[in-house]
Amino acid sequence: MFNERILCAGFGGQGIMSLGQLLAYGGMSEERHVSWIPSYGPEMRGGTAYCSVVLSEKEVGSPIVTTNATTAVIMNTPSLIKFEKSVISGGIILVNSSLVNRRVTRKDVNVYYIPAVELAGECGNQQAANIVMLGAYLALTQAVTEKSIISALPKVFGEKPKKFIDLNRRALELGQKAVLGHGPKLAAA
C-alpha cells in the first residue's frame, strides 16, 4: 500500500515548511490522501523547525511523523541528531551535506548526502536548497511527479515570474541527478 510518511527538518528560514507543502499539494493533485503539519511553538527563530507530510492511498489518521518516517529530509545538524532515529528500517534519509557536518550512524537506512546549498547555488539561488532536496526525494520514491510539484508552486509561493519556475525546475533536476545513479551514501562522495 502506498503510504509515504515524510519528515522535513532544519533551521527556520531553510524552506522546510514550503518543501512539505509542495509535496502535499502535489500529492493532492494526484488524488492521494494527504496531510501536512508543522511543528509550532513560540517564536524561537533559529531553533529547529520541522514538518510532517503524509501521502497515502487511505484516509490519513495521524498526520504526525516523528516516528515511522519512510523518509527524512534533514537540512541541518541538530535535525539529524534529533530525527535520525525516527526513520523506519529500510527508509531513506536525505542529508543536506552543505550544512550537516556529521554522518548518519544507523546502518539499516538508505542515506544520501546532497550538497544542496552548492547545487542550489548552481541554479542561481542558494535559497533553493530545499527544492534540490525535494528533487532528490522525488527521484528516489516517485511519490509525486515533477509536473504536479511545478503546478503546486504558485499555491505555495503565490504567482511568480517564469524565471522563478525555471529556477525551481532546474533545482529539482539537480537534486534528481545527485541521487540517481549513485547508490546510497555515495551521493556526496
Partner: protein, 354 residues
C-alpha cells in the same frame, strides 16, 4: 467543487463565512490564530465585521451584544481563553442568544503549552460558568468536517437560540488537508422578533436579560431551558462507527484522537484483532444511544483521549455498568501514535491493564 489544501483553522473560518457569520470578535491566542487572521482578511469582503477585542472577556460580551441585536456572531479562542469566557457563556446560554464559540484546545492546566490537547472536555461539557445550562459541542476530526460542522454550528445556534461550541485542537487546527468546500447555505432568515434593535415606536420595548430576582421566575426559566436542552438531546447527538462489527473492544474517541484511532483499528483488524471505533461527534449531547447498538461481543470500551480521563465519565454513564470501560490518555500536549493505541488495546484484550 475542487479540493483545496487548508489548515483546519482556515476550514473553520471559511465554514463560518459559509454559515452566515456576520461578526467575529476575538482575542489572539495560539493555536487558533489562523481563524481571526483569515476572517480579518475575508469577513469584510462579505460585508461582515471583524473586530479584535481587548480581551477574551470583552470578546464574549461583544458576541453577546451582537447576538442580542440580531447578528450572527462568533468568537474563537483556546483553553485558557475559554476559561475567561465562562461567565459570558453562562449568560449567552441563559439569555438564549445564538452564537458560536470555537475552542482550539491546547495542553493545560494553567498556561500549559500550545501543543494539541483534549483536556478541556469537562470545560466544554460541564459548564464551568455558573448555573444549570448545556452547550451543544461539535467535535470535528478533519478539516473537511471543520468546515461542515461550522456551518452546522451556525444553523443549530439559530434554530435553538443557543450558543454552540466547536471543539477542535491544535493538531486539527494546524494541519493542512484537502477540503471540498460545501456551498453557502441558503439562510432561512429566521425572524428575530426577540432581538433588541430599537422598537421604532411600533411595539413595546424588549429587554434581553438573565436576571430574575424572584426564584419562582428563575425556576420557570430554568425549567424552560431544561426542556429545550432535552429537545436538543433527543435530536442532535451525532457519532460515527467504524468497523465495529464483531468487535470485542471498542475505542471511543473524538477529534484528533478520533481520526488517529482509525489507523489503530485498521492496523489491529489487519492483524486479525477484533476492534472497532465509536467516534463521538457531539460531546454534548453525548450520543448515549450509540452504546445501545454496540455488537454483543463487545466486552471492553477504551475511552481514548489526549487528557487524564474526562470523557470516560460520559462513557461510563452511557453504559451504566454494563460494559467495562477504561481510559487511555496522553496529557500535556502529547499526541498518541496509532501504534501505541493499538498496543494498549491488545494488552487489554490479552487480559492486562485492567
Amino acid at each position: 467543487m475542487p479540493k483545496s489544501l487548508m489548515k483546519g483553522n482556515e476550514a473553520l473560518a471559511k465554514g463560518a463565512i459559509l454559515g452566515g457569520c456576520t461578526h467575529f470578535f476575538g482575542y489572539p491566542i495560539t493555536p487558533q490564530n489562523e481563524i481571526p487572521e483569515f476572517l480579518a482578511r475575508e469577513l469584510p469582503k462579505t460585508g461582515g465585521i471583524f473586530l479584535q477585542a481587548e480581551s477574551e472577556i470583552a470578546a464574549i460580551n461583544m458576541v453577546y451584544g451582537a447576538a442580542a441585536a440580531g447578528g450572527r456572531p462568533m468568537t474563537s479562542s483556546s483553553s485558557p481563553g475559554i476559561a475567561l469566557m465562562q461567565e459570558g457563556i453562562s449568560l449567552l446560554a441563559a439569555a438564549e442568544l445564538p452564537s458560536v464559540i470555537v475552542n482550539v484546545q491546547r495542553g493545560g492546566p494553567g498556561i500549559g503549552t500550545i501543543q494539541p490537547s483534549q483536556c478541556d472536555y469537562f470545560q466544554m461539557t460541564r459548564g464551568g460558568g455558573n448555573g444549570d445550562y448545556s452547550i451543544i459541542a461539535l467535535a470535528p476530526s478533519t478539516a473537511q468536517e471543520s468546515a461542515e460542522m461550522m456551518i452546522d454550528a451556525f444553523e443549530l445556534a439559530q434554530r435553538y437560540r443557543t450558543p454552540v461550541f466547536i471543539v477542535s485542537d491544535g493538531m486539527l487546527g494546524q494541519m493542512m488537508e484537502p477540503v471540498t468546500m460545501p456551498s453557502k447555505v441558503p439562510q432561512q432568515s429566521v425572524k428575530k422578533d426577540w432581538a433588541a434593535v430599537g422598537h421604532d415606536n411600533r411595539r413595546p420595548p424588549i429587554t434581553i436579560k438573565t436576571l430574575a430576582l424572584d426564584p419562582c421566575d428563575l425556576e420557570q426559566i430554568n425549567l424552560r431551558l431544561q426542556e429545550k436542552f432535552m429537545r436538543i438531546r433527543e435530536s442532535e447527538s451525532r457519532y460515527e462507527t467504524y468497523r465495529i462489527s464483531e468487535a470485542e473492544l471498542i475505542f471511543c474517541g473524538y477529534g484528533s484522537v478520533g481520526r488517529i484511532l482509525k489507523n489503530s483499528v485498521d492496523q489491529l483488524r489487519h492483524e486479525g484483532v477484533r476492534v472497532g471505533l465509536l467516534r463521538v461527534k457531539t460531546l454534548w449531547p453525548f450520543p448515549v444511544e450509540a452504546f445501545n447498538v454496540l455488537p454483543p461481543r463487545c466486552r471492553h470500551i477504551l475511552s481514548t483521549e489526549m487528557n487524564c480521563g474526562q470523557m470516560i465519565d460520559d462513557v461510563r454513564l452511557a453504559v451504566n455498568g454494563k460494559i467495562q470501560v477504561t481510559h487511555y490518555g496522553r496529557p500535556g500536549g502529547i499526541i498518541p501514535t496509532p501504534e501505541e493505541l493499538a498496543d494498549h488495546a491488545k494488552n487489554i484484550l490479552a487480559g492486562g491493564c485492567q
